[in-house]
Symmetry: C2
Subunit: 333 residues, 2 copies
């Protein structure tokens, strides 16, 4: 930040003013800045984030996870419309670290939420593409702060059930929803083991038509499964709800439950503490990523890495010794 020039600082000031007025174009531009890898953009983005920091946090951050086929888009559309109708401003952000590989994320496809995308009180932003999950997560976290500064008071962060993305999302939200289809049998298949433990509210979607009784059975089973787990919070025992996103049934009850969740966990500052801990954890994960990026970018290290890797492959040097030698080079300069 030391060398940040006046232009970048002035840019940040200008965007901040418009952002706080709720200007959507300024918001889109600000998010583009945090997603950029150009160093002048990064500098402007960092300046901007620190200006708007006091205007962030006045929202409920909701993580939504669910494997493909569970009806997530339909659910988010129904949920979002209910919220904007009640006067809320809703931002939908997405984390999908696979979006680069798959050549454009299905989650990033705005057309899947036809009504919400035209809603003036909703803002939908697809997953930042490319890079590691850590990089994608950082940009989504920063986008979240920007939407809050722009006056959005409900932030929905959705993720596809792949890799570690659920854990990453759980680490940046206030409440984590796990969206499930009415699965047959008592299997918890298709959901990775740790993910159920992350859920504050389990939502069984498609509780309509032929699937209604299957949904009820699934709900009973998940209630049983959750009953066996140790809750994350002493003030909240995870709930299981049934909804039909298609018929817009049960969505209001879900919002009510989220309200109860906030009340229960807000009472002794649990939620506020969680946010503070999340911010510190974010700083550390950022540190780890940046440190490794600097290491790889170091001239002498970069020049030596290939040979060192070859020596390790040929068992000419122990991997730990090779690591130590490279580290010495990096820290010497």
């Amino acid at each position: 930040m030391n060398e940040m020039n006046k232009k970048q600082s002035a840019d940040a000031d200008k965007i901040a003013v418009k952002l706080k007025q709720g200007d959507r174009r300024a918001l889109a531009r600000a998010i583009t800045l945090v997603e950029s890898s150009r160093s002048d953009h990064r500098a402007t983005a960092q300046a901007l984030l620190n200006i708007i920091l006091p205007d962030t946090g006045d929202s409920i951050r909701i993580g939504i996870s669910g494997t493909p086929g569970v009806g997530k888009s339909t659910f988010i559309e129904a949920f979002g419309k209910l919220l904007t109708a009640a006067g809320h401003k809703v931002a939908v952000l997405t984390i999908d670290p696979s979006s680069q590989r798959s050549g454009g994320s299905i989650l990033g496809d705005k057309t899947r939420m036809e009504e919400l995308v035209r809603d003036p009180n909703a803002f939908i932003r697809p997953s930042p593409s490319g890079g590691s999950l850590g990089g994608v997560a950082r940009r989504t976290r920063e986008a979240m702060l920007l939407t809050e500064a722009a006056g959005f008071d409900v932030i929905l962060i959705e993720t596809v059930g792949v890799g570690q993305s659920e854990t990453t999302v759980a680490e940046m939200v206030d409440v984590f929803l796990l969206l499930l289809a009415p699965a047959g049998g008592d299997e918890l298949q298709g959901i990775k083991r740790g993910v159920m433990e992350l859920a504050d509210i389990v939502v069984i979607n498609k509780a309509d038509g032929d699937l209604k009784s299957a949904a009820a059975r699934a709900a009973a089973e998940y209630k049983g499964a959750i009953g066996l787990m140790r809750p994350k919070s002493k003030n909240w025992k995870p709930k299981v709800l049934m909804v039909s996103a298609l018929n817009k049934i049960g969505i209001d009850k879900l919002w009510e439950t989220i309200g109860k969740y906030r009340a229960a966990r807000g009472s002794d500052n649990e939620l506020a503490d969680q946010r503070r801990d999340q911010a510190v954890a974010w700083m550390w994960s950022e540190l780890g990523d940046s440190l490794m990026a600097r290491f790889r970018a170091h001239d002498v290290v970069a020049a030596r890495i290939k040979q060192m890797e070859a020596d390790v492959k040929a068992a000419q040097i122990a991997p730990t010794t090779a690591a130590e030698k490279l580290l010495e080079i990096f820290l010497e300069k």
Copy 2:
């Protein structure tokens, strides 16, 4: 290594000579050195590893994973005895990152393999205790190299099905066995989703007495499940075997299958390539861990961290900016 004094170098030479003669006391002492966090011990350990490096690798490295209750100790005892009876020298190493928390690992309890522990051709070493999975894994990898230099030609690395330990073990072995009990129904419950994909050979234990038909059903189901997965190697399709560790049935067939696996994947150097890639990956993970350890140990950083964390908690500074500032301090010096 630059400041390593003559005493440490001489120590390393002396231990190396005895180690290569297959001296068990030297092996135990060498492993204690790699497990130590004292810097002089570390220096001796690194010198030792580089001396013995040309004498390592002449073994088959077998990972064995299985949740508690599956009969892993009985299996390893039966497997180990079969191997030593056939003239092999067998080392059993364990990775259990929970061993510190639980106040001593059940896996580290030598009494659970009564026969094998008294076998002069077997060497059993409990999990290194304490620290992160990365730290535990590094010490186990180094112990593996030491046992190889001491002439052990079958290395069994067992892990309890917790956290990321299966992935870690899969990244350091030639072949990965997943040990399962004859589970009822078609559920894959209890096994984390990605773990089945890691398995080169699935072993259904307890195929004896009342459970024999359940084991056969389970084997058929797992065969079906594995048939749907994309194999890790183009030369090997994962196999499902039934054994009774208790009655020592099927263990010889398993060893035969491991032989076929080596032949199939050895033919076009797949296994050798895998080992080389594992060594490079190890160097990188070591780099990441060491870099962060150095960062935390830096005087000025250490003095600033608490205040910086407090500022981040109070939203006085954006987490990414805080990370950047600490990084500048660290790299400035």
